[in-house]
């Protein structure tokens, strides 16, 4: 009875990246100066922590915003929730999870500092639980912080909000940002590196790698080695990332979560839609994807709006399940953009 079933259960393929320790690419660290450098970490005040985050130029990897802006604006207070995002529900990607598993002390220090600023009533780390293709067990606690295991099907990142008490405030920060905050407080180190997963079926030595920001994708792949020539190289997640053509020019930015090299591409493989309706069942937002795709192909914008295309979150679950290998998600995202443009111009 899958009238309301949402999302998909792809093979997670997180092994062996998850169990192996993080590889650190050789780099030069940068340090910042401040007047409370000598203060022990425990005695830092909230303003000082915010200042550290600002000086260290820490970027939150889950939305690309500066961490200090988040810390400055927010004061959660009693009843508020601080959620550490280590969900990683996309196949291959495991950079945030591996931090939680391999560097728990640093992470809990970072969370402690963050708690001091935000003073939330509750703090937990969110991780994706349904890694069905490996027998890796997610720990129940990291440091002194509880791990909330997010179950269910693929687009799980939205579902984190489900555990928040109703009507209360919450904030989500990335696990890597917490690690960088801890380093900045302890060693006055600037955030010059970020964590990416290097994986794919042609990568010889799939690992989670800490690479300097600005490294090219080619160098990262060279570090881990390629066993064959890939047809596709993906920057970002395997479900939502983009295929790149010039690996020597594409650089890694703080929000990059992975570099994935795949042997085969699906670009040329497509049949006509046979109307099986699997995309409808996969959609986490319960959209009528099959009908939407037809309207998008025909350019019927009014129908698209009536069928709620603006609710599409671009998770790519529909494209994943399509047996005809149609780029449903790409079609819908394009149509959504066109509609937004038309709305702005006032033609719709």
């Amino acid at each position: 009875m899958s009238f309301f079933v949402k999302g998909i259960l792809p093979e997670q393929k997180k092994e062996p990246m998850l169990t192996r320790s993080t590889l650190v690419m050789r780099q030069e660290f940068e340090y910042f100066d401040c007047d409370f450098e000598e203060t022990p970490v425990e005695d830092l005040s909230a303003e000082q922590i915010t200042e550290i985050a600002r000086l260290a130029e820490i970027v939150d990897e889950c939305d690309g915003k500066m961490l200090w802006e988040k810390l400055e604006k927010l004061n959660l207070g009693e009843g508020g929730t601080l959620i550490i995002d280590a969900i990683d529900d996309e196949p291959y990607i495991s950079s945030q999870m591996s931090i939680c598993i391999h560097q728990p002390e640093k992470l809990s220090l970072g969370i402690e500092l963050c708690e001091k600023v935000l003073s939330p009533g509750k703090t937990y780390i969110a991780m994706y639980r349904h890694i069905l293709d490996s027998n890796f067990g997610i720990p129940g606690k990291i440091g002194k912080y509880k791990v909330r295991k997010i179950g269910g099907r693929y687009p799980a990142e939205n579902r984190v909000y489900r555990h928040i008490p109703k009507g209360k405030n919450s904030v989500i920060v990335g696990a890597c940002a917490m690690l960088h905050l801890a380093r900045a407080a302890e060693e006055s180190r600037k955030m010059t590196s970020c964590f990416v997963t290097v994986a794919g079926d042609v990568v010889k030595n799939p690992r989670n790698v800490e690479v300097p920001i600005g490294t090219t994708a080619e160098k990262v792949l060279e570090l881990c080695g390629l066993s064959a020539e890939p047809e596709t190289i993906v920057m970002g997640g395997s479900m939502t990332g983009r295929a790149i053509f010039e690996p020597e020019n594409e650089v890694i930015v703080p929000t990059t979560r992975g570099v994935i090299a795949l042997e085969r591409s699906y670009g040329t493989y497509s049949y006509t839609c046979i109307g099986c309706g699997r995309c409808d069942h996969a959609c986490p937002k319960a959209l009528s994807v099959c009908a939407l795709r037809k309207f998008a192909d025909a350019g019927k914008f009014e129908e698209l709006c009536r069928y709620d295309v603006n609710m599409c979150i671009g998770c790519g679950a529909c494209s994943y399940v399509c047996p005809s290998r149609i780029d449903v998600a790409a079609t819908l995202i394009k149509a959504k953009k066109q509609i937004e443009l038309a709305r702005k111009e006032g033609t719709l």
């Binding site: 928040i164 596709t232 479900m239 939502t240 699906y266 049949y271 069942h281 709620d308």
Partner: protein, 404 residues
């Protein structure tokens, strides 16, 4: 490394299943049925299947040429060509199969746009038109366990099929075991109930078809047969004879589940299954021909877009339930207390109509979220998944900035 790189859109991992594997599963599931009909009727049954498949494949290539499409060797016409002979007796002349295949491909499939666009089930329409043209050939069934001539006219003994006896109101003179094993005369593929059912279960396990469609068709149909028996005797006998005669089981697994012409969502599939059960029953109860299933299927194909539309409208309400609930909550206090509105509530009241007029389609951003929180404090018992989804939808856009 750079030379081989190809462009592809966002999800870079895909399911290993494809149209080809789905269709190949169906073909594999049809092979045992052919094996059984080979056992009962000899080589002619297999030759009919090969003839049908080749005819359909060639005709679909012609159709693709006429449509000026890129040639695409998908397996759907082969399935159509394999199903059509199975609905007919083994003594059927080859020209009847040819005409049925021609109608299926050239009239039903390609004028509407080829694979994936046909309005009706090609096999059902092909069979129905053949049955109207040559009722004598299509509905005279040879007795089982005799080897028929491979080509040309057959000189087989003709036997009365259980479906025909039932339509006359008589009890068929075969016991239930005969009908399960397929030794009763009838359409050459549809009599081997056990084999057909096993193949259907294979398809369900391989996820080539959805289990809901055959389930929601067979159960109401069985219920109707028990409630309104056409023959005397115990209800169990009536049920067995009705279910196992004709093409009910075969059609439920192989024809009703055709993805193109059936509704997309599970709820729509349930609706379609139940209503086709009713229509098939009516066709068989009041109709004179034995082709009740095919006719009913053609009728029900017309309704599947309507079932889809019903699902969509239900889901539309489900998606917008936050906004709908909020609008209810806002209307009621405005009516009950017109005069003594608290001072701080006044600006809120003014904002609401403005927001409603400006963005009807938009996801409610800030104001409805507050309203929903109130509503959930009022009724805390209903903590279902949908309720939680609702809060997620509303909190998502505002996420971090909410506290200010």
């Amino acid at each position: 490394m750079k030379e081989k790189l190809m462009f592809q859109n966002a999800p870079h991992v895909r399911q290993s299943e494809s149209v080809v594997t789905m269709m190949a599963d169906v073909i594999i599931a049809l092979l045992p049925v052919y094996l059984m009909s080979f056992f009962y009727y000899g080589l002619r049954a297999v030759m009919l299947g090969i003839f049908g498949a080749v005819t359909c494949a060639v005709l679909s290539l012609i159709g693709q040429l006429l449509l000026k499409e890129k040639l695409n060797f998908d397996l759907t016409p082969i399935i159509t060509g394999l199903i059509i002979p199975l609905l007919m007796p083994a003594s059927i002349p080859y020209y009847v199969v040819f005409s049925a295949c021609a109608v299926a491909i050239l009239v039903v499939k390609f004028p509407f746009g080829g694979t994936g666009s046909n309005l009706f089930n090609p096999a059902a329409v092909g069979f129905a038109s053949a049955a109207i043209c040559w009722p004598k050939e299509v509905f005279s069934y040879p007795a089982t366990m005799q080897s028929l001539e491979v080509f040309g006219e057959t000189t087989a003994r003709i036997a009365q099929s259980p479906a025909y006896s039932l339509s006359l109101g008589a009890v068929p003179d075969y016991n239930v075991l005969d009908m399960l094993l397929g030794s009763a005369p009838g359409p050459m593929g549809a009599t081997n109930i056990l084999v057909v059912a096993a193949c259907g279960i294979f398809l369900i396990v391989k996820k080539a078809i959805n289990w809901l469609t055959p389930f929601c068709f067979l159960v109401p149909y069985a219920l109707l047969c028990v409630l309104f028996p056409r023959i005397g005797g115990s209800p169990f006998d009536a049920l067995c004879y009705e279910l196992f005669s004709g093409t009910i089981i075969f059609g439920a697994f192989f024809m009703l589940t055709e993805p193109v012409t059936s509704p997309k969502r599970d709820f729509g599939k349930m609706l379609a299954g139940i209503s086709s059960a009713v229509v098939v029953f009516l066709f068989r109860y009041f109709g004179e021909f034995e082709m009740g299933f095919a006719s009913a299927l053609i009728v029900m194909n017309v309704f599947s877009p309507i079932f889809d539309a019903i699902c969509e409208s239900v889901l539309h309400i489900y998606r917008h339930k936050g906004a709908i609930l909020a609008s209810f909550k806002k209307e009621t206090p405005a009516e009950t207390k017109p005069a003594e509105v608290p001072a701080e509530a006044v600006p809120e009241e003014e904002e609401i109509p403005a927001e409603e007029t400006s963005s009807e389609e938009e996801v409610p951003e800030e104001e409805p979220a507050v309203e929903i929180d109130l509503s959930e404090e009022a009724e805390p018992s209903a903590e279902t998944e949908e309720e939680e989804e609702l809060s997620e939808e509303n909190e998502e856009p505002s996420g971090e900035e909410e506290t200010v």
